[in-house]
């Protein structure tokens, strides 16, 4: 099991007396896409935020290449540079243009030269189809474009894994496709990704493993074929049925 890039072990998180995550346990293997599905409020965002240490887990552990990022004396900033995150609300830097958004982390955190950072940023901005817009400020582009820039910003750090928290949920329907297309192409290239999503077609097509959560607990996980077609738990059946009714 130790070939996993990320191992979440018995992770729990409480806000005060509110237990939001309970005994979460799963692995992410290099090159795999792992999707997390579940109704809103089930703790998916909190789980991602615990994984990249935006929240401190109450108990349990997160292992990165077998090493604990919580007790192992790992510098959180260095670790986060290797674990990219794409947020539902983009979280771009409003004071910088598209190109600077993708350069600042490389220069400040990875200490790359401006030329090096720019070349790398351009590589990924081209990849997400945003190269023509490098001079635009975030407020001047659409949601779908912002999200593609956010993906390029994360990729420019050359992370080993990318976390996505409902990357298309804040987008107008006609922009969902352009972001999913980028994610599909990353998956096809073997990028390791952990994706919280409501896009079931995407989860089904690209995931190696699908994790179903409800009320802060993993009810089942497995291959998308199995989980979508023959869910074992009543909870997963109910969720999928309700999802398809809409």
């Amino acid at each position: 099991m130790s070939d996993a890039i990320l191992e979440v072990r018995h992770l729990s998180k409480s806000f005060g007396s509110n237990e939001v995550l309970r005994d979460i346990d799963f692995d992410v293997r290099p090159g795999d896409v792992t999707s997390i599905i579940g109704a809103s409020g089930s703790g998916k965002s909190t789980l991602l935020r615990c994984i990249n240490l935006l929240e401190t887990p109450t108990s349990g552990d997160v292992l990165f290449h077998g090493e604990s990022v919580i007790t192992g004396g790992v510098n959180p900033n260095k670790y986060r540079a290797k674990v990219g995150m794409v947020f539902q609300s983009f979280n771009l830097f409003d004071n910088m243009d598209v190109l600077k958004n993708c350069m600042v982390g490389q220069m400040k955190v990875l200490k790359r030269s401006a030329a090096e950072a720019e070349a790398n940023a351009m590589k990924y901005l081209e990849r997400v189809g945003m190269a023509p817009y490098i001079k635009a400020k975030p407020r001047q582009i659409s949601g779908g474009m912002k999200q593609r820039v956010a993906i390029a910003r994360a990729l420019a750090m050359d992370p080993e894994i990318l976390l996505f928290d409902e990357p298309t949920s804040a987008l107008d329907p006609e922009m969902v496709g352009e972001v999913l297309a980028v994610m599909r192409s990353l998956a096809a290239d073997g990028m390791t990704m952990l994706v919280v999503t409501h896009e079931m077609a995407f989860a089904r097509d690209v995931s190696a493993n699908v994790v179903f959560m409800k009320d802060g607990v993993i009810w089942e996980q497995g291959s998308p074929d199995r989980l979508f077609r023959e869910p074992e738990t009543q909870e997963a059946r109910d969720f999928l049925a309700r999802f398809m009714e809409r």
Binding site: V109, L110, A181
Partner: protein
């Protein structure tokens, strides 16, 4: 008319004195506003250092102490008139400390008083400016490994400072006018010049008119200048497309994968958009 000829006579005789007074007023206002902004920035930054229940008690103690000191500073200097502060610092300090602590230069005293006054006002503005920036941007910065200092200097402060430019401008204009109380410590700014001149010739009203027009001319210029700076900070309202080649242009436009293919995001089978 007597009035206009009096003004003309005053200007003919004292124009240099008036001008020098206005020069001193402006210099004091500019320097004190800048230093005040730095003080305000430092206080605002210290006030917004994140502090959670998980932090070590020592850190929490010091952060609490710093916040209490800043609070007292802000309340005392905002809550008392600047004239009295000037009197306390320029005359009071040497008196209390038996001349161990006294100002050799009235300039130093004036700059100090106006700066710490401005700082007290700016501290709250800066704090407000910082917390008004969407915390999502802080998380975005954290998520790529930036530390608190890098996040502040690269992302938050540039936006916070832009947002509080109107308050900085307000403080600057208030300082241009309110430095007039510095005559109390014999600082010869624009208003002190007026007092000195009318003491010699009793042309109160003509001289006061010169003062009014002088102050208004300077504050109007300052407002216009500040608005120009704000505009420049906002940058262009449009952007140019950078065209490399047709391939990258086309890469930005996405069309849904064909219906019926495994990539069809509109498929109703798994709750795609069309099913809703």
């Amino acid at each position: 008319m007597d009035f206009f000829s009096d003004i003309g006579a005053l200007l003919a005789q004292y124009w240099e004195t008036y001008l020098r007074g206005m020069g001193n007023t402006l210099l004091l206002a500019v320097v004190a506003t800048l230093i005040g902004c730095v003080i305000g920035l430092v206080c605002g930054i210290l006030n917004t250092i994140p502090c959670s229940k998980n932090d070590p008690p020592v850190k929490r103690f010091f952060l609490g102490l710093i916040r209490a000191i800043i609070r007292i500073y802000v309340e005392v200097f905002r809550g008392t008139p600047m004239v009295l502060q000037a009197v306390f610092i320029y005359y009071g300090l040497p008196y209390i400390t038996n001349n161990a602590f006294r100002f050799e230069s009235v300039w130093a005293a004036a700059i100090l008083v106006v700066s710490i006054n401005t700082g007290a006002y700016m501290a709250e503005s800066v704090r407000g400016g910082i917390i008004s920036i969407d915390p999502g941007q802080t998380e975005g910065a954290k998520s790529i490994g930036m530390n608190h200092f890098q996040t502040m200097t690269s992302v938050i402060l540039p936006q916070a400072i832009r947002n509080i430019m109107p308050q900085i401008g307000n403080n600057f204009i208030i300082n241009i006018k309110d430095t007039s109380v510095m005559f109390i410590i014999t600082f010869t700014e624009f208003f002190a010049v007026h007092r000195n001149i009318v003491a010699l010739n009793y042309k109160y009203f003509p001289s006061a008119t010169i003062e009014m027009v002088g102050y208004l001319a300077v504050t109007l210029t300052a407002s216009a200048l500040l608005r120009w700076v704000e505009k420049r900070m906002d940058g262009k309202s449009s952007y140019e497309l950078v065209q490399t080649d047709n391939l990258t242009m086309a890469a930005g436009t996405y069309s849904h994968p064909d219906r019926g293919t495994p990539f069809d995001e509109r498929s109703t089978e798994f709750g795609g958009k069309e099913g809703k």
